[in-house]
Point group: C2
Chain length 314, copies 2
Amino acid sequence: MIPIVDEATLRASVTPERAVAAIREAFRADGEGRTRVPPVINLDIPAERGEFHIKTAHIEGMPYIAVKIASGFSDNPARGLPSGSGLMAVFDAATGLPAALLLDNGFLTDIRTGAAGAVAADELARSRIDTVGVIGSGLQARHQIQCLRVVREFHVIVVWSPTRARLDAYADEMRRGGYDVRTVNNVAELCAAADLLITATPSRDPLVRAEWLHEGMHINAVGSDSPGKQELAAECLRRADLVVVDRVAQCAAFGELRHAIDAALLTAAGELGAIVAGRKPGRTSDRQITIADLTGVGFQDTAIANAALRWISV
Amino acid sequence: MIPIVDEATLRASVTPERAVAAIREAFRADGEGRTRVPPVINLDIPAERGEFHIKTAHIEGMPYIAVKIASGFSDNPARGLPSGSGLMAVFDAATGLPAALLLDNGFLTDIRTGAAGAVAADELARSRIDTVGVIGSGLQARHQIQCLRVVREFHVIVVWSPTRARLDAYADEMRRGGYDVRTVNNVAELCAAADLLITATPSRDPLVRAEWLHEGMHINAVGSDSPGKQELAAECLRRADLVVVDRVAQCAAFGELRHAIDAALLTAAGELGAIVAGRKPGRTSDRQITIADLTGVGFQDTAIANAALRWISV
């Protein structure tokens, strides 16, 4: 038998600090050419309004390989079940033998996604930011903030969400976390106030227009993780001075870049790994507009599983 | 927590009879258009001479979806470890929630592969066969025979294997199983004697030449499961009256068909599912030469996992 680690144990051990360190190391490895990332498996179950995504990767120098299986079933909440779930099967990278099962119910995916946002912000946002704008009020609206505070100090959160009740609950929760929180009624107002904007919705229609971007702004777009989703108008990508993606192949297939009206944008987009590894520049002036299009890459799953097994005695 | 089922429990429950029934049902569902099969993930770890394969599928009408992760690491035996391993993570097809972990160490893959051979033989081999030829002396040389006896009665096994010690051990084992076993020194002699030929080696060079095929023969080629492997000379596929594959998309990528010199062969090849579902004919005369090119499809993994969970109380 192999060790089975439950969600509570993982939540207690994989802190935002540890997650950000692990995900930074994964992007560095990627930028140094030390990752192997096969294409993602997407399995749709239309009759049940459900989908599975399977991601994996090898990172040279890390002892384990994770295979992450995430599911999303839209009708689950009506049955009293969570819409998203998942687990990670972990294997010894030197022998291929099963090493552990992480029954995280999606927690590790949530925190590694938050951590990628923090790593992107650390490379691309201005070093001093006061106000963080958040579009959305779900799990990622929380994880992005929890991880971002590892790399940036900020005091004001401005938030907009299409769901009023969830918006208020989120605002209350963030206030209890010590932030000065303001809810707004439209995205234009939110963009005007935000030094750093996080878009974390499952929107299928663009929410952010190019004319709302302003000098010095950085955007982490983390909601568009499958074909059909889009949060930024395609013109935003053209207006930005620097567009960075977690993985060109994925972003071209199902990230914001998929909607880019200009194919040249795709060519110009750099990968975050190259910036973390110091092979390409990140932000070079406080006036630039920068965008990170983050879809979630298998090496993040392998890195977070390695971190979990480093901090848990199994 | 979810139920964890160990290899011994699975071996005791998933018999060849049950496996053949489950795999036949899977091919029928495929032939009736009731499967969804995303592309396989292949992850190579060249530095460790290792590889991972990940397969999954949905079968309408079956309650579970399996995600099967199989590994093969060539240097393991020198370390006293098995070269192949793996597990299946099983999910509820209606909610996406984790349902069970099958810690089979590759057993379920082995037996579902044997069962696919039996289903192919049942549709394509003559109803009366006396002599089964086996190329290879590994796990599949065993599983193919154990499953084949579910659908055909036969008494003689002729076997050739490049590894003499393993060949003798295999012959002894089959004799203890009640078969009249003859070992031969070359493949030509073996082909001449075989009514049904099983090729089950990891060969990267063709072992079977077209001129050795004879009237009425059926071949199950099960060894070529990844790019670079080949057991049949490409001319064999041209000489056969009927070439059937488990899945055209896979066989074109890494089965015997990949080596077919004539692209028309690929177009002409039928899928086993269509035959099991009665939508295409299988063997129509005792004189035909038939070949089944079997690479292993995700719906077999989902079907065998469903069978396991049907027969085990979890």
